[in-house]
Structures are given as structure tokens and as C-alpha cells.
Symmetry: C2
Subunit: 260 residues, 2 copies
């Protein structure tokens, strides 16, 4: 195993400023997580938003106010162990930084949410190609016409990610991702994009368009970007998240997410 | 279908004071839920306790402050639709009542938590007998030496329920209950009771002892009584719960709890 295969080593490398790139491909087989940090006064409503919308916002861990070391990542420091962070102020993205030690306060609570890397690996292990990875692009993401259940000041439409595949692969992918209920679980929809309010499949709201081949259908999964729209709608004075693609690498193995 | 098979009818019957007995056996196939009501100032910490301990405290729904009609029970009123309620004051059981309309305030939040009735029916459908039901007793429950993850003022040891069965049945029961992840899911332990700190299997901490036959092992599931111990430890000025066995009957079908 190289150094880049062990979560604690990679976190240390990031902490020392030696890695500030996306984390995709690092520590294969280990769970990477989305990060959301909020002041306590906002955090509990966000917690309820996640509980009410577990498919887009699956909770891996909630850290107590002021705590920086997650249980699922030994000796980690969530203030410094992600390559890049986004700082939101009043619901808008203010800046992107590599260290939030100066911003994190004792009243802030951190959320680690499941990300789709885990189930993508499971799909690839089953021989199902991930088009955006094959084409070197970001996954296509769309704002749907489905509303999440709101919680206090947090509300959002459901955002989905899309992966094109053959019908038989879509069935197999439904089986496989069902087990990964902490990384968005089974698809929320497939086939006709208009059924969830997507007008043009070739113009995603986030990420890149990918090729959909003859005989393939688009398959849609709930997407963690939903939580970003919820933060924008709630507009807290400050919120800190991972920068897209620059995730927190945990000590959990992908298979741990299938434990019921 | 008789009147006693339709959740909305039974809730109405209870609301009108025509039924104040346990709900076991009513509306078979529909989900019954544990109820916990707390002032908002305490509710969010309890929410976090449930999120951190999903096996004993699986969340079916969290109602906003002052809301009395759950989404999972049309036209219901959680202040009057349970046959009996327990009133806790400062962590102790103060009284048992049949209506909480005079106690429920606009700052109170209600939690509906999964209960084991749903998976017991699935076990019986699979031909696995439930000993305490066969013997007309309450299920045996034990305080274990495992600690739940605490959240703010809420902490508790894990409480488990026990059902004796043959080895092959225990394996089948693990498969079946895994699907019911919102009603405690798979067993947390089986066989030697000392492995989870139970000294005498014939002396449960709650409920009744049941017969364990030659060739059978005790199988342990996380139990909702855990949340009662958490309420006692946190000692909020007021908390309202269902009275044991007197549950809230929802419109959800048992099978809905297996959706991932």
C-alpha cells in the first residue's frame, strides 16, 4: 500500500499543505464525506432537514459544538484535513480557503454526509461503467421539480445526479446502491427526465453534460448538492462546507456504509 | 375489513374514548409507533440522540413545534389518538392519562419512533414463533453494558428485547429484520447473555421472563425503551410519551419501513 492509500496519511499530507487537489481516486475503498459546518443556532434545524431528507443528505456523523475530531476519522482535524473549503456568508459563497482554523468557533457543529464515491466504486466493481469518469468530466446534476421536506429555515428542491446506462445495468445498479443507503441509496428516478422536471438532459444545472448512447436511459440519484441549496435558502450568517470534489477522507470502509 | 383494521377508524375510536387498551393486534400490517414529546429547548438534543443511536431509536417522523397531525397519519391528532400517555416531570413518571390536549403547547415537538410490532409480524409470517406472544406475556427486556452515544443532556445504556429461537431461525430472523431498518433492524447480539452484560436471562429488567427451550438461543434486538432511559437521565421539566403497549397507529404499511 502506498501512502496515498491510507486515510490518516492522506489527511496528514493535506494538513501539511502538500495536497490541495480533488480527493477522487485517493484511498480507494474508504468512505469520503461531504462536510457542512454551521453555528449551533442553525445546526439543529439543518439536522432536522437531513433527517427529513435522508436520500440527498445521509448523515454519517454529527460533531458536537467545538469538536474537530470525528469518531470516524482518528486523530483528524476537520478544520485542516480537507484540501479546500467553501465559506458561505448570508447564503452566498464568499471565498475558497485551504484552512478554516481561524474561522471555526466553539459554537460550531460539523456534519459529515455520505457522498456518491462509495457507490460509484461498487458499480464499477460490478462492471458498470460511470460515464462521467470515463469521459473525464464532472457528474451531471439537475435541479428537479420535487421539493424536499423543509425544516425551519432550511428548504430546497431535490437535486439529482445522473448516470446513463443500459436497462439491465439500471436494474443491477438499483440493487447495488440499495445496500449503500448512507450514500444516497437506490435511484430516485430513471428514464424520462421530464418526469422530475428536467427540460433538457444535455444542459445540467451543475457539473458537465455526458454522452447518452443509443439504448441507454438516464438514471437519477439524490445528490448532496441539495444541502448547498438548503444553506443558500436559509442564509445563515456563516456556513463552511467542503469545496466540490475536495472531500473529507474517513477511516470507514465503503462496506461499513451497508451495515444496517 | 372490520373497523378495527383501518387506522383512521381506530384513531377516531380512541379519540372518542371508546378504546383505552393496548394496541397490539389492531390494524395488523400497519405501522405502530412510539411517541416522545419534548419542549423544543430539549427536542433538538433528543433528535441528535436518535440520529446517533438509530437502532434503538429509529425516527419515522419529527413534527414541528406545535404541530399535532403527522404526515404519516392523515387527520390524526397526536394529543388524543393514543389510548394512554405517560407524563414525565423532571425525569420521573408522574402520571398516566388518556388525553394530553391540556398539556401540549406550541413549543413542543413530537417524535414518532419505530416499534418492534412490524418486524414481529414479518417473523411470524415467516413461520418463526414469538415466544412472549405465544405465552401471552410482555417481551423480555434487559439493560446491557453497552453505552449509547450521548447527545447533550441525553445518555443511556442500550436496552435490548429478547426472543428465544433455534439457530436456523436466528439466521432467518437476522435476514428478515435487516430489511426493517426503521424498526430496530437486525439483532445487535445473540447467544451468551453475558457478552452484553446480562447476568441472569430469567430476570429481565422490564417485561416478563419467557421460556427458553433446549436447543434455543436468546436473540437480542435494540429496544425503544432505551429512549425512556435517556429521558430519565436528561430530566427535562416535562416529557410526554406513549404508555407502554399503547402505541400510535400510523397509515404506513409495514412494508413501507423497508424502503431504502
Amino acid at each position: 500500500m502506498s501512502n496515498q492509500d491510507i486515510p490518516s496519511n492522506v489527511r496528514e499530507m493535506i494538513r501539511e499543505g502538500k495536497w490541495s487537489e480533488p480527493t477522487s481516486g485517493l484511498c480507494m475503498g474508504y468512505v469520503q464525506a461531504n462536510l457542512v459546518i454551521l453555528p449551533k443556532e442553525w445546526a439543529y434545524e439543518f439536522l432536522l432537514f437531513c433527517v427529513r431528507n435522508p436520500k440527498p443528505c445521509p448523515i454519517l456523523e454529527v460533531l458536537d459544538p467545538g469538536v474537530v475530531e470525528p469518531k470516524i476519522a482518528r486523530d483528524a482535524d476537520i478544520r485542516r484535513d480537507l484540501p479546500k473549503y467553501r465559506i458561505y456568508k448570508n447564503g452566498g459563497i464568499k471565498e475558497v480557503v485551504e484552512d478554516i482554523s481561524g474561522l471555526f468557533t466553539d459554537d460550531m457543529m460539523s456534519f459529515l454526509l455520505g457522498c456518491s464515491f462509495s457507490f460509484e466504486k461498487a458499480l464499477m466493481d460490478a462492471g458498470i461503467g460511470i460515464r462521467n469518469i470515463d469521459e473525464g468530466k464532472n457528474v451531471s446534476m439537475y435541479i428537479t421539480d420535487r421539493k424536499c421536506q423543509s425544516a425551519g429555515r432550511f428548504s430546497a428542491p431535490l437535486v439529482v445526479s445522473m448516470r446513463p446506462m443500459k436497462i439491465e445495468e439500471a436494474i443491477r445498479a438499483s440493487q447495488i446502491t440499495t445496500r449503500f443507503y448512507l450514500t444516497h441509496g437506490a435511484p430516485v428516478y430513471m428514464d424520462d427526465p421530464h418526469g422530475i422536471g428536467i427540460d433538457d438532459i444535455n444542459r445540467p444545472d451543475f457539473g458537465d453534460p455526458v454522452t447518452i448512447r443509443e439504448g441507454e436511459i438516464p438514471v437519477f440519484w439524490a445528490c448532496g448538492v441539495t444541502s448547498q441549496l438548503a444553506i443558500e435558502s436559509a442564509s445563515p450568517p456563516i456556513a463552511i462546507t467542503h469545496h466540490p470534489g475536495h472531500m473529507f477522507i474517513t477511516d470507514l470502509k465503503d462496506e461499513d456504509l451497508t451495515v444496517l
